[in-house]
Symmetry: C2
Subunit: 181 residues, 2 copies
Amino acid sequence: MALEHAILVSLLERPGSGYELAGRFERSIGRFWTATHQQIYRVLRRMESDGWVVAEEIGQDGRPDKRSFSVTGVGRRTLAEWLRAPVQPEAVRHELAVKIRGAAFTDAAGRAELLAEVTRYRAEHEALLATYLNGEKRDFPDPDALDVGQRLQHVVLRGGIAYERMLLDWLDDVLQTLRAL
Amino acid sequence: MALEHAILVSLLERPGSGYELAGRFERSIGRFWTATHQQIYRVLRRMESDGWVVAEEIGQDGRPDKRSFSVTGVGRRTLAEWLRAPVQPEAVRHELAVKIRGAAFTDAAGRAELLAEVTRYRAEHEALLATYLNGEKRDFPDPDALDVGQRLQHVVLRGGIAYERMLLDWLDDVLQTLRAL
DNA sequence: TCTTGCTATGCAACTCGTTTCATAGCAAGC
DNA sequence: GCTTGCTATGAAACGAGTTGCATAGCAAGA
């Protein structure tokens, strides 16, 4: 499990409440590690009781109080230790690939519907690539003038961009293959 | 959940026992949908009681009996229905990306260790690409002489190859970035 | 001879992840 | 006035996935 560690990284980049973290997981970190607010709150409680993070109660008027978390020395050391450990082999789950192989066992109408679905899926990822490229222009306009953290964030974003480009090319290949059956 | 559907596809490609399925998930299907033998047995039992598959008891001498499963008409229809449904947005979990961003919060020694780990990880995926390319040469030597099922299997394999190539390029980018910090 | 490994299936316990629901006040729009 | 939506947190239940263990016979190698 690495949700704890993803949270540690996010809180080191900037302290924040569970709610704020959930928002970040929706937006930026969720690109490479997804989590719902339920998971985040549960894991945060465990991390707090293990002393990895501490909460600061912030009373707000008009809004519910929030608890802003920051990483402790223990949390930093835990992260450093995890960084040294080998990357776990990841569990691949590519539903579309299953569907494509499954298309061998349906009729022409079913394959036509799959083709339409792949087209829709492609458009979704084209939009995602566009937001990545926009984010890159916005956040990293001058790649030579970045600090260490920004350079690392940038290389991860480049990974997302490379992935989306590869995916779009492959989806074109899939569409051609389906049409040519 | 799509483990059921991955199993249906695999059993349509060729009927087999839970054990054989587990082997296929280790080797070929596991490239895009992982599962352990525990999951497979459990799901097979549910699928059997729902009438998606039927078992044929095969007594073997010297070895334990096995139950070979094949897909029923109900199973086929279930698969066809699932094929028509939209692809679910997948839960991305890219541990290495978390580690790379985490590297901003460790010292030079920690970053050196991460660099070594990325190098090891790269070698692993280089080997994986080699087995994909070998499999492609072996199973699809003449791309123009394939039936529908093989064409679809081939395009999925091409996806795997494209992914690994993209990943290797990106890992080179990561290594350069880490070295230049 | 002993260990390791393969075929073949399964139980039990646990952790992880998702979904649904609940509370609560405020702001914005219809 | 009513609904929708945002900030902010959490309980409860369920479903999915992992890990460890058990059985059992045979084959191969140290």
